[in-house]
Symmetry: C2
Subunit: 316 residues, 2 copies
């Protein structure tokens, strides 16, 4: 278990540890999108990851890092969806119970996936306060160990392995775009870009309707996400305390995008690349569409965070 | 140019000829779908093919097989969509004009793609008679060479290369499922399964609402497709004269599926595999869902024919 910011070898160790349990996901590209945007775009496709998102990396890494004295009564968390199923899957692999607190507005497909992995779900109001209070009660009852979805160094090290793979596969990326919600993926991405890349400019991409990370970075302190409204349901959470200083130090810039651009970006990726991505993953592409980042003739990496989309709620 | 049924070496030659112009597409699988259906399913993903479907194989093969005396005034065809853009793309590669007759109800995304490759489109009523008459007029004016979308041995040899790749990649497939419209893909698939596979049972899958191939095979003669109604817009056409005898000889069985099963199959593939497929490609999966084929514990290949879906028309 890590008690401080993951260094280069911590991330390499995490990569070794989780190798048998997660996919080495493909990096895809599209000539038609490169032509459209005038840059070389590389998409790290965590939508093809186990349980449909990068969260499987952090979840299994954190679960494997716990001593068995702490896993014996199972593991628990609160999550709006992708971490929920990733943790339920990790527990399933370790053959221990999992207890998941989910907001009552979580996408149906994510709820069903948690159930499929044998996770026990407790629903709550979609606020951070309600999630934490409900989780407290669940843990009191079960004595399970809490694994935080993003405010945890082993989680960060696990998420960082996606960009370790990315940097090893694509040489000399100039720019790396990553969505930001709680900051688990972003902090891990930024660390790996610094450890395994060469002068990569890491840019965080966030919906305007959930711009707590943008405001926090400008203010120099964590400002909570209050009543966020965005189709990108994975990015509703506030920044974590362990994530924020990493992001302050290792992320070069942050931009925000409109809901219309997110929807258009999602459609574009479906149509041109023939892959299914969730709205949160469309946020970096939306930033390109809205010309928020200068990418002309650069090698641009984009983290496609997941593919767990509630298709019934999407209209193109 | 082939003047008779492609033999094994004709298909190998087509594979060599088109290699520089088409993708060797990936074969994907899904543990969750294998568990759901109790079989080993392998998906040959022509949705990731150039111009979004297998049609790019046949189009470029047929165009390259023509002597330049026949390409000098360009090439022409009629098509409900995927062959249209595949042929426009082939002409674009050869730097010759293309003239495409399309039914006025063709999906917008396919019309735009043809325009993107520089093809000149003439719209007509969505009947075979109107298509053929309109094409005749276009050819009279332009002196272009007509390449039929499926009733052509070079087209058949080109489409057959997908299953050549498939058989070389996955050993000992027991069953191979393929959608059928005009029969270009199906006849090529069946030939390659016979040449490059070992006792593969090839099963054609067709929408109930466009069951001319089913009726034709039962009757022993080509029965036309009259007012077909199906979401699978790639499968509206009648069987070709060159395709039918190949299908009679090399295809083991044919099954039909409901529209509801096609829609459900499409959603299942989007959700579980995170890939975008067009309705025509969902037809073989629909046949599995409706228990039309015994696949228990078998190695089952499925040709995912394309990914050009008009997302605005789909509701999940």
């Amino acid at each position: 278990m890590l008690h401080s910011l993951p260094d280069k070898s911590d991330i390499e160790k995490a990569y070794e540890r989780i190798g048998a349990y997660v996919h080495h996901t493909p990096v895809l590209s599209s000539k038609s999108l490169n032509k459209l945007f005038g840059a070389d775009l590389y998409f790290k496709c965590e939508n093809f990851q186990k349980a449909g998102s990068f969260k499987s990396r952090g979840a299994i890494n954190a679960a494997l890092a716990l001593p068995s004295s702490l896993t014996i009564n199972g593991i628990a968390t609160h999550s709006s969806g992708n971490f929920a199923q990733a943790l339920a899957r990790a527990a399933n692999i370790l053959n221990i119970p999992s207890y998941i607190v989910m907001p009552e507005n979580a996408p149906k497909v994510k709820v069903e996936a948690v159930e499929g992995y044998g996770g026990e779900i407790t629903f709550c109001e979609p606020t951070l306060a309600a999630r934490e209070k409900t989780l407290e009660k669940v843990v009191e009852r079960t004595k399970a160990s809490v694994i935080h979805p993003y405010d945890d160094y082993d989680i960060i090290a696990g998420q960082a392995t996606a960009t370790l793979e990315f940097c090893h596969e694509i040489d000399n990326l100039n720019i790396l775009l990553c969505p930001v919600g709680g900051g688990g993926l972003l902090s891990g991405t930024a660390l790996s870009a610094s450890y395994f890349g060469k002068n990569i400019s890491v840019i965080a991409c966030e919906p305007k309707g959930a711009d707590d990370a943008y405001r926090s970075l400008k203010a120099g302190k964590i400002l909570p996400s209050v009543n966020p409204v965005t189709i990108a349901d994975g990015l509703l959470t506030s920044l974590g305390e362990k994530n924020f200083p990493i992001i302050q130090k290792y992320v070069d810039d942050i931009v925000t995008v409109s809901e219309d651009a997110i929807k258009y970006a999602m459609k574009l990726i479906f149509e041109r690349m023939k892959i299914v991505i969730e709205p949160s993953s469309a946020v970096p592409v939306a930033a390109i569409i809205e010309n928020k980042i200068k990418i002309s003739d650069r090698k641009v990496g984009i983290i496609i965070s997941g593919g767990n989309v509630d298709l019934a709620k999407i209209s193109f």
